[in-house]
């Protein structure tokens, strides 16, 4: 399926012979229309994802998911063959606009699938709004993408940064945890996660005693853990991800806080970090729109097929990619492959109902999933699903005005 751009240097003889053949064919009126039709028949799908650096594995998981969803339905979009283009965005926000423009202008993609990093997404967002190219966001949770900067041609199949933490409120209050301390990295994603937590927790009747922050990506938490111990809240809620998340859980346990003050967090706290955190993560509670262990036939079938095709276990990012593929299929089928019929295409995608491994979800008015958020607890190095923390939770989409 992959088309590799032919970069063989042309020898003089090759140019001459092919040139002659072309002229001959063209004069007989056979070749040129053929070329035009062949190009017009293929849909160009561009991946703008991180393939190097910290997020490289997320990029691979997302691409796998997209390809799998489309391959399951015959490998075509609305009856048309696909030409794939890949671009490594390196999670580098400084090159976000440049890279997105390259895909849109030089490669002329019909669809841009990307990306993981919110800062890079802001670049894609700008290009998508200006060029009108169809953009499907398979991860980046930056609020603006489906709020103030939303666009008819931009769809997200993942989450907003406030969605998982918004669901923390109810399960915490159900346990009688009325006073909480919030702690996060002080950067955009942390602030947006706090916005969700604050809304969900205070609405459920809880009080946030103190808001603590560490500069990103600083991982020296000891001073703040001492502060937490002297504040003695009923619970701690947090947003951390990756290596910092593993370190935070370890430090939290080593400071003796784990058994005295329960730790809650956005689900990214315990995604991909459980092996590193070891026993320190046991019992940590988190909320997310997916869990590997989700016990549904749909999820099990997905996991088996993914493991068979790619020889590795899928994660939440693979699911988000898979749904991006499903969404694109659904749209392309609705317009029978005529992606230029934008009104009908966006209408079909905007009213999509996706049967995802994470459970069924629908697209909100601002083009972000309305989805169940699960409550999970770490048991034996696995996120065990305890139930649904918030049913069909939608992001507010505040400030979104579709043109």
């Amino acid at each position: 399926m992959t088309v590799i751009h032919d970069r063989r240097p042309l020898s003089r003889r090759l140019v001459l012979s092919r040139g002659a053949a072309l002229v001959g064919a063209a004069s007989s009126g056979l070749l040129l229309p053929e070329i035009v039709r062949a190009q017009g028949n293929k849909v160009k799908v561009g991946f703008m994802l991180p393939y190097t650096g910290t997020y490289a594995q997320l990029g691979v998981a997302i691409e796998n998911g997209v390809r799998m969803a489309i391959a399951e339905k015959g490998g075509k979009l609305g009856g048309r063959e696909i030409e794939w283009v890949k671009l490594d965005d390196e999670s580098n926000p400084a090159k976000g606009v440049e890279n997105a423009s390259k895909l849109v202008q030089a490669d002329k993609v019909d669809v841009l699938i990307g990306t993981v990093h919110s800062g890079v997404q802001m670049g894609i967002q700008k290009v998508a709004r200006e060029s009108g190219v169809l953009n499907i966001i398979p991860n980046a949770g930056v609020l603006a993408a489906t709020r103030a900067l939303c666009a008819p041609n931009v769809f997200r199949t993942s989450f907003t940064n406030s969605q998982p933490t918004m669901a923390l409120g109810k399960p915490m209050m159900d346990k009688g945890l009325k006073k909480a301390v919030w702690i996060t990295w002080k950067y955009a994603a942390g602030d947006e996660a706090f916005e969700g937590f604050k809304e969900g927790y205070t609405k459920a009747g809880g009080t946030i005693v103190k808001e603590l922050g560490v500069a990103f990506p600083n991982v020296e938490f000891q001073a703040l853990l001492t502060e937490i111990a002297s504040l003695k809240p009923d619970a701690v809620a947090c947003f951390f991800a990756g290596g910092g998340a593993a370190k935070f859980m370890k430090d939290y346990a080593a400071a003796g806080l784990k058994d005295k003050i329960p730790l809650y967090g956005s689900g990214f706290l315990t995604e991909g970090t459980l092996e590193a955190a070891g026993d320190a993560a046991e019992g940590v509670m988190s909320t997310l729109h997916y869990a590997d262990s989700l016990d549904t036939p749909r999820n099990k079938a997905f996991r088996t097929a993914y493991a068979r095709d790619f020889k590795m276990q899928p994660d939440v990012y693979a699911v988000q990619g898979y749904d991006a593929g499903q969404l694109l299929l659904l749209g392309a089928d609705a317009v029978k492959g005529d992606l230029a019929n934008k009104a009908a295409l966006y209408k079909a995608m905007g009213s999509a109902s996706i049967d995802s491994p994470r459970g069924k979800w629908t697209m909100s008015k601002s083009h972000n999933p309305i989805q169940d958020i699960y409550l999970r607890k770490v048991e034996n190095k696995d996120n065990k699903v305890l139930g649904v923390a918030a049913k069909q939770l939608a992001d507010s989409g505040a400030g979104c005005k579709m043109a």
């Binding site: 910290t54 490289a56 020296e220 080593a254 003050i261």
Partner: protein, 287 residues
């Protein structure tokens, strides 16, 4: 803040400061003696952490892993000095910055090829796992105290090596006047190779002993490198004593800043650096 909290935060400050010192000591040594600006210093820290991860599972013992890791780091430092850094002592700082900046990317890529991009944990050795209860809610991990102790030992060892031994005398002489030292029949090339290897080993050891509490993950050297430079600049470039004082100062400002002035805490360390530079443009202790 009551007195108990104050004392615990002081302990946090000292412990963080000592770890910073161990990291910055190698950097300031290499800069002070050979005049090389080494941006790849954070990569040596990362290398140490990944060595601890691999070796401790391979050898089954954290102590053995550290010993083997030190040997490997010293060898690595010697090789790197011989094939690369040796040719940069006399060159412009900008050349050194470019070369070592490139090394960061090479080491990150090698790390990705050899170990992958996952986050890994290194178990704390069983002897040091416990915690000492300080208040009814807070305990202090024994391992952190062990780290602080080890950093103090290394600081003393480094001081004795440089000020009391014959090798230390040659090192100081070489830093003071390279040509004169060489003409007195001292093998300055060997001295430089040794100092460079010590610098690499110091960063690597810091990474190894930090690994159990910090986890092991890609790009872990980057934030460390920045703090190292802050410490080295405040302390005075090339001064080991200055690095110690500066590291403790940064530890205090960072810890208490987070608690007392949370809104500006991210800036405080850099403000400290600015103030010190205004007052003493060459740092607290100029060599």
């Amino acid at each position: 803040m009551n007195i108990a909290d104050f004392l615990i935060q002081t302990l946090n400050s000292v412990q963080y400061g000592l770890l910073l010192f161990m990291l910055a000591a190698g950097l300031t040594l290499i800069f002070g003696i050979m005049g090389v600006v080494n941006l790849a210093h954070g990569s040596f820290y990362m290398l140490g952490a990944y060595l601890a991860y691999s070796l401790s599972s391979m050898l089954g013992s954290f102590t053995l892993a550290i010993l083997a890791g030190v040997v490997l780091s010293v060898l690595f430092g010697l090789v790197l000095e011989r094939v690369l850094f040796r040719f940069f002592y006399q060159r412009d700082h900008l050349d050194q910055v470019l070369m070592t900046f490139g090394l960061i990317y090479i080491f990150e890529e090698l790390r990705s090829i050899l170990w992958g991009d996952d986050v890994h944990g290194v178990p704390i050795p069983p002897l040091l796992t416990g915690s000492i209860p300080l208040t009814d809610t807070l305990s202090y991990p024994i391992y952190r105290l062990f780290m602080a102790g080890l950093c103090v030992l290394l600081a003393i060892g480094l001081y004795l090596l440089i000020s009391q031994t014959r090798l230390g005398m040659k090192i100081r002489a070489g830093a003071f006047n390279r040509d004169m030292t060489e003409s007195l029949g001292i093998n300055i090339k060997l001295i430089h190779a040794v100092v460079f290897a010590i610098g690499v080993a110091l960063a690597s050891v810091a990474g190894m002993i930090a690994a159990p509490i910090s986890s092991v993950y890609p790009n872990m050297g980057a934030p460390v490198l920045i703090m190292c430079f802050v410490v080295v600049v405040i302390g005075g470039i090339g001064s080991v004593r200055g690095a110690l004082i500066a590291a403790l100062l940064v530890g205090f400002v960072d810890t208490f800043g987070k608690v007392l002035l949370p809104q500006v805490s991210a800036m405080l360390v850099y403000m400290l650096m600015a103030v010190v530079l205004l007052w003493k443009p060459e740092g607290l202790f100029k060599q």
